[in-house]
């Protein structure tokens, strides 16, 4: 057992657990953050993406111990922000959500991308979300949604 302390969606939390536990499981099971999805469990699909100190990470391959002292934001935390609202609207407007299983992870990827580059080109958008698999949409409407969000959300990123 290790005692791990970190900031989760803006709140200070602490948990006693084996530091090798997958961050994904801890978020889902100990903190009931079900918006963090498991699509592959091997760091390849991005469904489990979260922000660690503002940078996207696949929580299925992050050991809990690595969270020590960091700030973690999941879709549940991110969905309270103005940036999220712009992304949500843009995703809806562009038809970027089908089954939705990849969507929270896509939102996190979009945030991480726009955070570093607030007016990305199409190629940069495609590259920015290429760590997130979507089997439903063929990605075009997602790429358009991210471009639209960058446009609509001028000044937010």
């Amino acid at each position: 057992m290790d005692k791990i302390e970190f900031t989760l969606n803006g709140k200070q939390v602490s948990i006693e657990k084996d530091g090798t536990a997958r961050l994904l499981d801890v978020l889902r099971e100990d903190f009931s953050l079900i918006g963090v999805k498991e699509g592959c469990g091997e760091g390849e699909c991005g469904a489990c993406a979260v922000l660690i100190d503002g940078v996207i990470a696949n929580s299925c391959i992050v050991p809990l111990g690595n969270a020590q002292g960091r700030s973690i934001v999941t879709i549940e935390g991110f969905s309270g922000t103005a940036r999220y609202r712009v992304l949500e609207e843009s995703f809806a407007e562009c038809g970027a959500v089908q089954c939705g299983f990849c969507t929270p992870g896509m939102m996190i990827a979009a945030e991480s991308l726009l955070n570093g580059n607030n007016s990305p080109s199409e190629a940069e958008i495609r590259e920015g979300i290429s760590g997130n698999l979507c089997r439903c949409t063929g990605y075009n409407m997602i790429a358009e949604a991210v471009a639209l969000a960058a446009e609509k959300g001028k000044g937010l990123w």
Binding site: G41, A47, V97, E127
Partner: protein
């Protein structure tokens, strides 16, 4: 809300899905103690189970196997050959033998790792070729329309080619999962399902219970593509048996690796074509044969085969057709439903065959295809009639304009050019094959107006991402001329919804949507709270003889044209997409943007099928059982698609709509393969077009 129905609206489930609050099966919490289930699987390909040695018993590990099945130990599909749990023999690697259930997954895993199964191995069929050489098909059909023998006698020449297609994995991003709850009234199954009533009927059969005691609820479903058509019936039967035995809630969620190793795949195929051509290079008839690898169980293979054979003429009219086909069993993971359902295999073959024939007779492929296009009033492959307008000629012109096809085709024909452009023409029969809708499905829908005037859609078809909820809510809101927020469509629960059939076969919008329109007409005659129902009846002019495979196989067809442009790297033999264009006739889109979503997603799955998605088995074991090894495209691999829809309303569809879900996948592989052929300057006979194959093609000239 009487506007043009096609005008897009925001989908009703966007918000819950975007914010992460939508509850998929693994996200729900359950009352009482939950036991997890873990599956013990066959570690050999084929043989007898001689003995199973278990570690010493533990209170927190329960074993559930075939001896616990109160009813029949097979999954009720078409044939009774798919065991819920293996009894004394196994017929593929990964076949489920038993479940371990308990509150702690780590304990279950540890326990499972110490179970020893002794087998007496037998020699298996590992490939389709193997099974074809050494066994008979378990099901076979013949389509005989016109007089092929006569045609080939008259022919100036005959040309024969053979084609091969591989397995394809659905890779819905949410893996399979189901939960069984044991309650006073019976057992409740909640899961990631396409077909709640398939699950219900299978569980009734396996438990030997009456229908009232089995309730099935669809959880939010994270993609399916056919993969959640029949497979969920298997795991639902397993957890139902466990739940009844242990009187507990049992939760079974696959991880990705397990999902990719043991769930159903698209059928591998071997397809041969022979064409009889007259002196003017017109096709007098075709002879076609398709062999499908069914994997270890029959499952839905017979119906997949029917679709593959009925597609034998592609979008063309040939005066004579002789099509034969068979399903062969191999000792491999069962093949099953996947968007397109047999059609993608045949369309790859027929479209390549037509390209190759055009080259042989020295004609332009599109011109050669155009002169053979089926027209309204022509006979279908099964001797039915194309009753509705066919707009393919116009659609071809349209896609040429959009893509600059003619110019690029000319340019890329120059020798040594690394680029290529290809066009595919395709159709999809909407609804169940043959008499399926009328004889087997007999869809029923309810529509209910409550005290507050809200109208509830009660059907068993599901939204699995394709936008069915929004689509049906629009159909009802427009029909009744009420605002969308007055319409309620909850996830199907068999306690409340009638059996309106499964969410498959591009039938839901066309058939169930149409029934909802009828129900709306009835509801308008009622005042206040009321419930009305509508039942499917087949138009009398549709006639089908299943034994002879004769007549109208489908009430309507949707049509499509794809163009794909590629570049092939002559060092790595990797193919890069440069452009993709599509024109579809789906009757009338109920929502343009939803259809565009179907087009984009289906097109990419089709291109992936042709280009990247390779799933091989070695000694019966799937070699690409992770998303690292099995390549599905990322955003960087695909290009923006330019799409167009052509309105061609179908009289019996809701607002003119026909099926759209499967159609969009079918043209991807043949279009990309045609483009690769041009880039390579070599003919293609097999998909996927992985670099090793392209290199081999080039080497062998």
């Amino acid at each position: 809300m009487r506007k043009d129905i096609s005008r897009s609206i925001g989908k009703v489930d966007n918000r819950e899905k975007s914010s992460g609050s939508a509850e998929y099966i693994n996200d729900r919490s359950w009352e009482g103690e939950v036991h997890y289930a873990l599956t013990l699987r066959s570690s050999i390909v084929k043989g007898k189970i001689i003995n199973i040695t278990f570690p010493s018993a533990r209170e927190d590990v329960h074993i559930v196997d075939y001896r616990d099945v109160p009813g029949k130990n097979f999954v009720s599909i078409l044939e009774d050959d798919w065991p819920v749990f293996a009894e004394d023999r196994v017929s593929y690697l990964g076949e489920p033998i038993l479940l371990l259930c308990g509150p702690d997954r780590t304990v279950l895993e540890e326990y499972r790792s110490r179970i020893v199964v002794d087998y007496e191995e037998e020699s298996p069929f590992l490939t389709l070729q193997d099974a074809v050489e050494k066994s008979d098909p378990i099901v076979s059909y013949t389509i005989d329309t016109g007089d092929y023998a006569g045609a080939s006698e008259k022919a100036a020449r005959t040309v024969k080619e053979t084609f091969e297609t591989g397995r394809q994995e659905q890779v819905y991003i949410e893996p399979q999962g189901v939960v069984a709850e044991y309650t006073e009234e019976g057992v409740v199954l909640t899961g990631s399902f396409q077909c709640p009533y398939y699950v219900k009927n299978a569980v009734i059969n396996t438990l030997g219970w009456s229908g009232e005691k089995v309730r099935v609820i669809q959880a939010v479903t994270g993609g399916a593509f056919g993969g959640k058509e029949e497979f969920p019936s298997l795991i639902s039967c397993q957890v139902a048996v466990a739940s009844v035995k242990l009187k507990k809630t049992i939760k079974l969620i696959y991880n990705r690796h397990e999902d990719m190793e043991v769930t159903t795949k698209r059928h591998p195929s071997l397809i041969s074509y022979e064409a009889a051509l007259d002196g003017d290079n017109r096709i007098l008839g075709v002879k076609m044969d398709v062999k499908l690898d069914g994997g270890a169980t029959t499952g839905l293979s017979a119906v997949v085969l029917q679709r593959a054979m009925i597609a034998s003429c592609g979008v063309y009219h040939f005066p004579a057709v002789l099509a034969t086909g068979g399903v062969y069993l191999t000792n491999t993971v069962p093949s099953g439903a996947f968007r397109g359902f047999g059609a993608p295999q045949t369309f790859f073959a027929i479209e390549m065959f037509m390209n190759h024939l055009a080259a042989k007779v020295g004609e332009d492929p599109v011109a050669f295809k155009t002169k053979h296009l089926a027209k309204k009033g022509d006979a279908t492959s099964t001797g039915g009639i194309y009753r509705d307008d066919i707009l393919m000629a116009q659609m071809i012109e349209e896609v040429k304009k959009m893509s600059g096809y003619a110019e690029k085709y000319r340019l890329y024909s120059e020798k040594g050019n690394p680029r290529g452009i290809g066009m595919s023409l395709f159709l999809h029969g909407c609804g169940f094959t043959g008499s399926g809708e009328a004889d087997h499905i007999k869809a029923k829908v309810y529509l209910e107006r409550d005290e507050e005037g809200r109208v509830h859609i009660l059907v068993s078809n599901v939204d699995m991402g394709q936008g069915f909820k929004t689509t049906m809510m629009k159909v009802v809101a427009h029909s009744l001329d009420i605002p969308l927020d007055q319409v309620v469509f909850n996830n199907p629960d068999t306690k409340y919804v009638p059996d309106s059939g499964p969410t498959v076969a591009s039938r839901s919008t066309m058939i169930v949507g149409r029934l909802l329109v009828e129900a709306c007409e009835k509801l308008q005659k009622e005042t206040g709270p009321a419930r009305v129902e509508a039942n499917y009846s087949q138009p009398d002019y549709i006639k089908w003889d299943q034994d002879k495979m004769k007549g109208d196989a489908y009430p309507a067809f949707s049509w499509g044209v794809n163009v794909v442009e590629v570049e092939v790297d002559r060092d790595t033999w990797e193919t890069t997409l440069l452009g993709a264009w599509s024109v579809h006739d789906v009757g009338k889109a109920i929502d343009d943007r939803i259809i565009r979503g179907q087009v984009d997603g289906g097109f990419l799955q089709g291109i992936g099928y042709g280009l990247w998605e390779k799933m091989e088995l070695k000694e019966g074991r799937v070699q690409q059982a992770t998303v690292t090894d099995y390549i599905i495209a990322t955003a960087s691999d695909f290009v923006t698609v330019e799409n167009k829809l052509i309105d061609n309303p179908y009289a019996l569809g809701p607002f003119g709509a026909k099926g759209a879900g499967e159609l969009t996948l079918i043209g991807g592989a043949p279009a990309v393969a045609a483009a690769v052929e041009q880039a390579l300057g070599a003919e293609v006979y097999r998909i996927p077009l992985v670099p090793e194959y392209l290199m081999e093609l080039k080497k062998n000239g």
